[in-house]
Symmetry: C2
Subunit: 427 residues, 2 copies
């Protein structure tokens, strides 16, 4: 594609936070940049759970990668799936035949997906939340469960249909479980005739001793209490041992529940394996201090695919600011190499960790001090609107949020692709 050129070629795999930050950091460089992603859009992942809970529309939190980079004339965007990386021949293989992409420098920022730790059969029963289609699937299952409960004439079945289990007490699990009770009891209450949506049960199962384990213990306790105030049954030290169509098992105990969502773990992109370097158990690449891989100073890894160790020995967390910083550092190190200078060590600048729990409830950890409650929640709102890519999305999200907050309604309660049999139309 890029042909024979004098300008050094940088290939970036992935249009998430890491890849985009890398592309932007190469803005004024004399390098020829190709960004490859298998979707046409950048996804603002921190708000993905809001699409899953019908608060925002998919297009509110996505923006075309081409559009984001439209003014950066040294970047080409390629909609394609990378199937392999050949670090010896310095080229990547994509899903378009005979169009290998050669590179002089490579930044791999292909992220991660949720993982089921060997229980791959659970994926169909308990969808996770990583891409925009995942959010649509969770929204669909959540809303359809009430439709099925409304039609059910069996009390036990109805109770199981109105029980939602979220597996995993990290930020995604806490966000999802914190949102569901309010939607059920407020937004959906007057819509149904045969069921009382206020009787909806939302159960959060966390395998470890506390929710949000990456936060200080004090904040975990606040989050736990906030979730209970919102109506969530929080069960810690509860490891899921089985999932069926109408039940979840914790040890020997059976929880009748027809809808289960998975937020219990991630596995890095399988592209890490084709780099032929050591990986950790989650498939993350053990990068060097400058984010390059052993033996190949021209190959960098950024974002969730990279396992970066901080100076105190703890790993850098898999959050957006970290991916942003890593992408930018990888790009700057390429510019250094181009100038014949040594690369720089990556240093994670922790600007504070935020987690939202539900309506007017959030926690924030700034290391030296912490914030909880409505102040933390307003801070969370402000930070997320500011970071949302693109003016349009920001206005639209603000309108939706203001509307939802005032009315308790969730506007995007659209179920699509339920039943696409073409032979009958009952509308």
């Amino acid at each position: 594609m890029t042909g024979n050129r004098a300008r050094p070629r940088v290939v970036i795999i992935g249009g998430g936070f890491g890849g985009l930050a890398a592309a932007k950091a190469l803005r004024k460089s004399p390098l020829d940049v190709t960004l490859i992603d298998r979707t046409n859009h950048h996804l603002f992942q921190p708000l993905l759970y809001q699409v899953a809970t019908a608060a925002l529309a998919p297009s509110d939190i996505t923006a075309p990668i081409r559009w984001i980079l439209r003014r950066q004339r040294n970047v080409k965007v390629l909609l394609a799936e990378v199937t392999a990386i050949d670090v010896e021949m310095k080229r990547v293989t994509i899903d378009i035949p005979n169009t290998d992409i050669p590179y002089d420098y490579l930044i791999v920022a292909s992220g991660s997906r949720h993982a089921y730790f060997g229980h791959s059969a659970w994926e169909a029963l308990a969808p996770g939340l990583k891409e925009i289609e995942d959010a649509a699937e969770i929204r669909r299952r959540f809303l359809l469960a009430f439709e099925r409960a409304e039609k059910s004439t069996d009390a036990a079945e109805r109770a199981a249909l109105m029980t939602f289990v979220i597996v995993g007490g990290g930020p995604t699990g806490v966000e999802l479980s914190g949102a569901f009770p309010t939607i059920a009891s407020r937004a959906l209450y007057s819509d149904f005739r045969n069921i009382d949506t206020r009787k909806t049960r939302v159960i959060l199962l966390e395998g470890g001793p506390r929710v949000l384990p990456s936060f200080p213990e004090k904040l975990s306790r606040v989050a736990h209490r906030n979730l209970e105030e919102l109506g969530v049954e929080v069960r810690t030290n509860s490891i899921v041992t089985g999932i069926e169509a109408d039940a979840v098992y914790v040890g020997e105990a059976r929880i009748p529940a027809c809808t289960v969502f998975w937020a219990a773990g991630n596995a890095a992109s399988p592209l890490g394996r084709s780099l032929n370097v050591p990986l950790d158990s989650a498939g993350r690449v053990l990068v060097k201090e400058d984010l390059s891989i052993p033996g190949h100073p021209e190959v960098f890894v950024a974002g969730d695919l990279a396992l970066v160790t901080r100076e105190d020995g703890r790993p850098v967390p898999g959050v957006c600011p970290a991916a942003n910083q890593e992408g930018a550092t990888a790009a700057r190190n390429i510019l250094q190499l181009e100038k014949g200078r040594p690369t720089s060590k990556f240093r994670y600048r922790n600007k504070g960790d935020l987690a939202t729990i539900g309506r007017s409830r959030a926690i924030a950890d700034f290391g030296k001090f912490t914030v909880t409650g409505r102040i933390a929640w307003l801070l969370w709102l402000f930070v997320h609107i500011m970071y949302l890519v693109g003016f349009r999305n920001r206005v639209s999200v603000f309108v939706e949020w203001a509307y939802s907050y005032i009315t308790y309604q969730h506007g995007t309660r659209l179920i699509t692709n339920v039943d696409r049999r073409e032979s009958q139309t009952s509308r």
Copy 2:
């Protein structure tokens, strides 16, 4: 479901304009109403082409049927697909086993779908625009064509990828073809590196002698000229004889084009057949003057499924105001029957016909006078925002439109479900 009750049972099939109007007209009645739809949402179909052209999000023009009717306590909404109607036994069969719904009165408002007139193989090659999923499919194909053109290295292939053919010069065909050139030349122009999106060709094929044939001839000429000003190649008297993956045939002439959209005709819902009454060639039910069917005064048909003849002999058009009026009349006639009074004839009150053509261009026909250009377009905007169901959608659509009009950007350029292979993640 409805059990044994003293209150007469009305079943409404379809949550489109006709079915909703019927349900609302029964608001204060002592009747027990069940509205059945196979989707959970009402679709504001006049703006569907705006989802197809990436101007609006699916949730902007849909609202949950339950939510619309939430305060009307005598209505139950059932998410189910009606598979048959038994007018002798007075019950409808749905896709949930052993749950036939008995009725005392029935209103069938199950609408229509686009039809291929015996060329069913064309459906996969040339999707039509009737439901929200159709709009997502058209948007996906439109955007993906540019992605493929950007990757193509063959000039002829690239030209075919950048040629869009719309079959059918009715309102939907005119709206789609009028929107595409502006999006291509303005919204997408700076996004691509290898292609010049201003060279996009949009061809509108109409089988008859003029576009918008339901409007006065003078307005058809205005629309034709407006389309050409926008950059559309309008070809009248052009009947499509073949569609292939990379070409459309008009007689012997071959038009190289990889993307074709179908807006050339409708067929009524197949549920009409189970009424065992005469249908027209498009499958519409030939209703009596009070909208009931011959031999069954308790069964009414409203909306696109009904063929209603005006006093001057012309058919009532398949537009939203007609469906609204028919649904309301059917409901009022049921109330008359309940009181032992004779039913009323349906009278179509034509409030004027509007068609939008593209940016700042529309036509309006009020019988005694006509309006064109920017005034007609502003009128169209006003009417459509006013009629949109639900406050939230109205604000959101207004924000989107203001943004699009000022910036020429189309904000919801999201391609989903392109490639869901789980094994590789390149983001």
